[in-house]
Amino acid sequence: MRKIPWLLLLLPLVLSSCILVVDLPVSNFRFDSNWQRNTDLRYVFCTNKTTYMRYKFRAPDSSVISSIQEFYQGYASGDTLTLNRPITDLTRDGSDLVFVGIVNFGQGQVPQSLPAGVSQQSIVVTPVTPPPSESGRTTVTVTVTTASGRQYSGSYLYYVYSNCP
């Protein structure tokens, strides 16, 4: 009779030490570019220079991914662009899937169109002292849909500069 309260007391204690590890099929979205604002280390776009954009996310098993969608929204223009990105445009780097593209700027290409096939090695991040000429902002959102229909997404706001030194 006396043992039952003791056991009841021990059970929550034992259960509380359990750590349930659930590995998400897609996680940890990261974005960068080859231009980094040296005041706050934020990645930016330079419209007068060759600009690469890169995003990556953790996805140990590519086979669970059914689609990848990119959504670009320009703050100054109000333009939006939705692109379906074939998974074959991404390369594997350990547990990560990586996409690198050249950012094209201009009417009809705003926010940008990203031709595939640029290797991630081509990204050399250059620190840039921000010129006063911030001429836009582009929000990039990547949404990955798995075979089960679950969606995972990450987003980044790129400040856009003209006349980068």
């Binding site: 009417q107 000429s133 980068c164």
Partner: protein, 124 residues
């Protein structure tokens, strides 16, 4: 003997001549002509709507609100400019401190900030 014959022939030949004399047309009354002033082809304001120009120096987003007003994004903020001149090029001025001008030739644009050209040769 031959002389009278020649005279006769000459008279005969001359009688076959037809003399055509054009008569002058009756003169019409002349309308007074207004002096023509040379007209500069007017440059149409683009838009309304938002345009992203590619320039020497980068890109520029200009939003034409109507034929006299526009809004462009530069120096991290929207700058509101108004039309100050229509010829020979469209010239808009304004923004923070009145420091911004946007000149549009009809095919190319130039952005000037505080008297300095910052974006030139802008085109769609």
């Amino acid at each position: 003997m031959l002389r009278p014959l020649l005279l006769l022939l000459l008279a005969f030949a001359l009688s076959s001549c037809i003399l055509l004399v054009e008569e002058d047309e009756p003169r019409r009354p002349v309308q007074p002509v207004q002096p023509v002033t040379p007209v500069q082809p007017s440059i149409v304001t683009p838009g309304p709507g938002s345009f992203t120009y590619r320039c020497s120096g980068g890109t520029l987003v200009v939003n034409y609100l109507d034929s006299n007003n526009l809004r462009l994004f530069y120096d991290g903020a929207f700058q509101s400019l108004s039309l100050v001149r229509r010829s020979p090029t469209l010239l808009f001025s304004g923004g923070a401190g009145g420091a911004y001008t946007w000149e549009w030739t009809g095919s190319r644009g130039t952005l000037t900030v505080r008297g300095q050209v910052v974006l030139s040769n802008c085109a769609l």
